[in-house]
Amino acid sequence: MTVHIASTVHVGRHGDASDGALAEAVGGRLSRVDGPAKITGAARYAVEQQLEGLAYAVLVESTIASGKVRAIDTKAAGAAPGVLKVLTPDTIISLKGASDWFGTPPLHKTYCPLARDITFSGQHVAAVVADTFEQAVAAAALLKVSYDETPAIVDLSDGKAGDGIPIDAMTKEWGDAPAAFASAPVRICAAYNTPREYQAPMEPHGLIARWEGDHLTVWEPSQWLDGMARTYAEWFDIPFENVRLVSPYIGGGFGSKALALSHGAVAASAAKMLGRPVRLVMTRPQTFTGYGGRAATRQTVTIGAGHDGVIQSIVHRGVNETSMDGMWVEPLGSVTSIMYATPNFSSKQNVVRVNSVVPGAMRAPGENPSAFGIESAIDELAYEVGIDPLEIRLRNYAEQDPHAKKAWSTRQLREAFAAGAERFGWARRTPQPRSMRDGNQLIGWGVAAGTYPVRRAYGEAIVRILADGSVEVESSSIDMGQGTYTILAQTAAETVGVPADNVVVKLGDSRFPRAGVTGGSRLAGVMTGAVYKAATSALDQLVGLAISDQRSPFHALQANTLVVANGRIASPRGDGPDISIAELLKSVGRDHIEATGDTMPANSTAEDRYKNYTTIAMSVPHTEGDFSRHSWCAHFIEVRVDEDFGTVRVSRVVSALDSGRLYNPKLAESQWKGGIIMGIGQALLEEGIMDRRHGRIVNNNLADYLVPTNADIPDIEVISVGIPDLHSSVLGGKGVGELAIVGVAPAIANAVFHATGKRIRDLPITLEKLI
């Protein structure tokens, strides 16, 4: 039996609305289906659950960066009104160590989320649980923690920091880069630094934990329900199935909500100890130390080239900070090694331990700072040899992956340069720095490219066709604003053949079919594939019933296929009945049809599946097989720099991006713009400012840690230059979420150089660097 599916993958050039796809179909510009619930306040976020007997926990953090807790005087806090429990390392229940996100077993058998040994300022040392939030806050202020302080290594520039630990796995080398550099006619060498940056999601981290016997339910904003559920299960030594994570909406994560964190362990321990559900929400300042932001980085990029600007050698050295007892590697050579063709290349990276919380994932970890280095350096080379910055990028265009030595699955970067330059009017640029101005405003035009690998994994979904003809999709994947609810509704609607209005997508509950991490821009590709498979098999069943069930009005037709469209079933030639799905199900006496679909390899074991959904160990390498798979983009940015004040304002952005096929261009554009806006913040505003005497970030709130406001953001034009890439995903998409931030900061720094003649190699580009 064959089933006809109106797939648009091969129909047009882009496979989306620009070829005429309907809003409801895959590739259509359907508005966010969760929009109305969020705008009206009907959407209930994790910690907004109203539970009987809820108690409130408040964290107490270390005020020193290095040393030991000598004593915690809990007397006053314990006696304060409403206090149920004061948790310290001595009183909290003991937990088991949990494996990391690769599934690597823990170093230590036990785990205590409250610290005795202090390795950074802002570390959780105690918690107070009370009947009300206010009581807990007041009592927490009464805890007296005394310390034996030892000298801290505050950051990468600390004299005590040293060179750090070489990370051999990051080394990438071919040819003889140092020798080729030494003999190159043109040589540039520069150091580029990025500071600590923070995800700063609107919704702070927090959770409600409730125990029923040895079953734990956690309502928590999560980018990865199954991964977090595994960690909770391991901590509390209960079966994975006993943990339920619920996370229907997430108020922004940007990488920071993928893992179960120590505050979660504290809340779940408190709930267990008290036999009551416990809510714990971090304060805004705590979100700066309760988990890691983007690690501060240092890179040196040396390029040897001919006078024609053709690169002969790149030598790259990178360093990122990590914590005293955790390991975070921010892969700084990731863009450096693939963006340009070079016969000789060397990249190495060290990691330096400082007294900080272990850094974490933040939108395009690795690629983002990496691009700041190489995309600034190539601009410096362009001025050195006197070649247009766009032209030099084309002269060094990598026709294949220079590192993996494989063909690109698709690389529409040349198209991106062409489309962006055209819309931006790049040809009108005058090359000299300080050559364009408007009164006191120096105008600069900069270009930079960005890229992000296509990370792939496997997903699972259930599709049900219900008695009323509507369709239900279930998956434990999540929607943190990127549009999962919407694109999965589109996928199911198109595949089954019903209007998108008739599809209800249920996400954010670990009881649903499983999904891996929502990170690395992989979810859309993974989950549209899984829903497509499940929906296809549900449709198969539906059509199968219609054809073969004796009670079906189609039975007499003896057809070997039927067409389902717009919620109705008919024969392809239209020579039989034409009835709704609901009527068919009624006629055959079924109240629903259900199909599970997954994209796991056929012979996968239960263990494989568990590993795939609860760790990242089974991610498929982007260079697997014959191809190297990446998304690509080119940013063209205009800045205006006030010559007296040094203030930089971005006045125009045109970005052309290749994310393959877009499942929903409206949502993809909005994610791209979000990435570009975040990139503007990174370039001009964002920086954790350290009091070096205390090893403490002092601008730990949203009045002082600046992210862009609407007034900082000009009109942003984004152009899709992608084409369906079936090597990257079932339906032809590549990654969307992280791509667009990559390359924004160097494009702005390059524009600032063009405007002012000053090369700023330390982010952010604040006014005192330019006056």
Binding site: T63, A141, D644, T647, A703, L706, T766, L767, I771
Partner: protein, 327 residues
Amino acid sequence: MRDFSYFRASSLDAARQAAALPGTMLLAGGTTLIDLAKCGVAEPDTLVDITHLKGLDRIDVNERGATIGALAKMGHIADHADIKSRFPAISEALWQAASAQIRNMATIGGNLMQRTRCPYFRGPANFSACNKREPGSGCSAIGGVTRGHAVLGTSEACIAMYPGDLATALVAFDATVHLGERKLLVDDFFLLPGSTPDREHAIEPGEMITSIEIPSSAAAHRSTYLKIRDRQSYEFAAASAAVGIEFEADGRTIRDLRVALGGVATKPWRARAVEEALKGKVLEPETVRAASRLAVEGAVDHGANHYKIELAPRVVARAILKLGETA
């Protein structure tokens, strides 16, 4: 839990009487006070809510000047047609301050009384030394993160910057603060830190700001407020200038000039030296730039805030020249 009592004042006298008691604080829009309570800086025993007092939110503008009630909202004043036309710098200072939401809540009484953004002042849990919070405890800022701290009017005890925009415009135009019957020039209302940085205003227990009066002047009529910052909106000033100018009949010679600086000093900072240097002079870019340097005479930096000494005179000069262009 830290209990406090809440009292809704029914009359001005009742409010003032209550406010005279130790541990009592007036509550207006709450945008500073609640924030400081959350940081653990303000720990009032009693809050006296004055927002229901009648008649204190009036904005009256006539030939002699403007009288603005203490409970008038920042947003209303910024949008007031007569304030915009006769005191443009006042309106501009207000709409460039804070965010739309805050301006809709915040009153100008509370606005004048806003406290410094010094992170050490705002972080008692982590930084015990702060002379402003705890007299005699020392100053955590000196030797620490000082990018936002003052370069003018500092003392060894405190280098905290006064962050308000409105008051900067008020000192430029000789506005007075009315504390019931008592009146003070805004310039005298704000105190230098000296050895008592905990005392910021010449206001006594039991006193309350009832209104602000801004006398009309030709300089106030031709005025502007220029605020420079890294972020285009919703950020305190890196440096700002309130400037008003009156020309002689030739339209080029400066008869009267008012200059005040924000974002760089421990209190709203009137730059009289700049005013004196330019009065009677013809407005020329070079003259203006040279005179503007006098704005930072005596400035002392603490490292990271050095840029303010460069920046502030440029802001002053730009503001003066901009007003000249419209002559």
